[in-house]
């Protein structure tokens, strides 16, 4: 019964190559869709530590689910579904309510020149504010707003969230109104 026979050099190399092959395909997938993970991660967490943890958890879940993906949906639909479910589950697990202010540059890693700093800071603070407002939405509204901002079709949103296309329209309007109210409360007028 000792399966260590599979561990002989040849088999080890074979399995390693196989995993490398899959890993490369997975890497290409993440190269293409990394923005989704970032945006979902930012929308479902309040601080950098949680964001990094959720980002990693989404990657691990996607990698685990990758072998079972049968191609019966679009790759992006599958990816959104897994990532959103992971984010929602993550948040349920955490159940931590942090009220502290987010640091404007908490997630920014790129260097900025002195000339562009002011503009960059303004943009960054707006991005922070947008994520802050999205975070305050209900979890269903958060998902629909994310997909809406990503310009997904109603059909694709329905596929990802498991709701009807008609329901998508209703939910988008409701979520947008709530988001606008939150932004207005922060002192912004034209949205």
């Amino acid at each position: 019964m000792a399966l260590h026979g599979l561990g002989c050099k040849k088999k080890y190399l074979w399995l390693t190559n196989l995993l490398m092959e899959r890993a490369q395909q997975f890497q290409q997938l993440i190269d293409e869709y990394n923005g989704i993970l970032y945006k979902i991660g930012r929308s479902y967490t309040r601080d950098e530590e949680d964001f990094k943890e959720l980002y990693q958890e989404m990657l691990v879940q996607l990698w685990s689910a990758y072998g079972r993906f049968r191609g019966d949906a679009k790759v992006s639909t599958w990816l959104y579904r897994v990532a959103l479910n992971t984010a929602i589950t993550y948040q349920k697990k955490k159940k931590r309510l942090k009220v502290q202010e987010l640091e404007p540059k908490a997630y920014r890693l790129a260097d900025t020149s002195a000339a562009q700093l002011a503009l960059e800071q303004q943009r960054a603070s707006q991005v922070e504010l947008l994520y802050h407002c999205i975070y305050q939405l209900k979890k269903d509204d958060r998902a629909i707003i994310l997909l809406h901002l990503e310009e997904k079709s109603y059909q694709e949103m329905a596929d990802i969230l498991g709701i009807t296309v008609n329901h998508v329209g209703v939910k988008i309007n409701r979520a947008r109104k709530r988001l606008f109210r939150l932004l207005q409360a922060e002192g912004y007028e034209r949205i």
Binding site: M1, A2, H4, L6, R22, L59, F69, L149, E189, I191
Partner: protein
């Protein structure tokens, strides 16, 4: 009141996402691969653990039986028969695996799954029959060692009742333990190989 353009801001967020990803890209696969790399490690660890623990248990049993010559001989014979059967199964499985042409990945995985599935079936049968043969062998050995009361025991319905209950218990307990152990030692690896195969199938469809 200030202006806020959601769509523009969202695009800036996309740029941030790219910057973030560029910074962590090298770690991405390391993060994601943590679990899957375990397939190899677990196969190797399990085989090593199985061999070492089997050898230790066998040595302990032999040492314990050292003082009783008859038990020692019975244990040694049973051990030899067990090793002969399991060794034959194991080495035949290994030989089949070595004969697989691993150049064609998908075909190779299919053949590995087939070999391991057949090995699993054979081991399951072997354990089932081995358990009952061991049980009746032990019973016969016990009866022979005490020949004086033999006829009295054979005609006692209580004796047969206990044997029957023991057999039923052995059947259910043995079945449960066998299934759990085989799942842990073989079936889960087969399932993981199947998952890899399915993953490759999907990739082929997409490419």
């Amino acid at each position: 009141m200030k202006e806020f353009n959601i769509n523009d801001t969202w695009k800036v967020s996309g740029q941030e996402a790219d910057q973030y990803y560029a910074a962590i890209k090298n770690q991405v696969m390391e993060m994601a691969r943590q679990r899957s790399q375990g397939i190899l490690d677990r196969i190797i660890r399990f085989g090593r653990w199985e061999l070492i623990s089997g050898a230790i248990v066998w040595c302990i049993l032999l040492v314990m039986a050292w003082s009783d010559f008859n038990s020692f001989v019975v244990l040694a014979i049973l051990g030899a028969v067990t090793f002969a059967f399991s060794g034959r199964l194991y080495f035949s499985m290994l030989q089949n695996i070595r004969q697989v042409n691993s150049l064609h990945t998908k075909e190779a995985i299919k053949q590995y799954i087939s070999i391991l599935s057949s090995y699993h079936k054979k081991v399951a049968n072997y354990v089932t029959w081995g358990t009952f043969v061991g049980f009746f062998g032990g019973l016969a050995a016990g009866l022979i060692s005490d020949m004086e009361d033999l006829w009295e025991k054979l005609t006692n319905w209580m004796f047969w009742g206990i044997i029957l209950v023991a057999l039923v218990l052995l059947y259910f307990l043995g079945r449960f333990l066998k299934s759990a152990y085989l799942h842990y030692s073989i079936v889960k690896f087969i399932d993981e190989l199947r998952e890899v195969l399915e993953g490759l199938g999907v990739e082929e469809l997409r490419s």
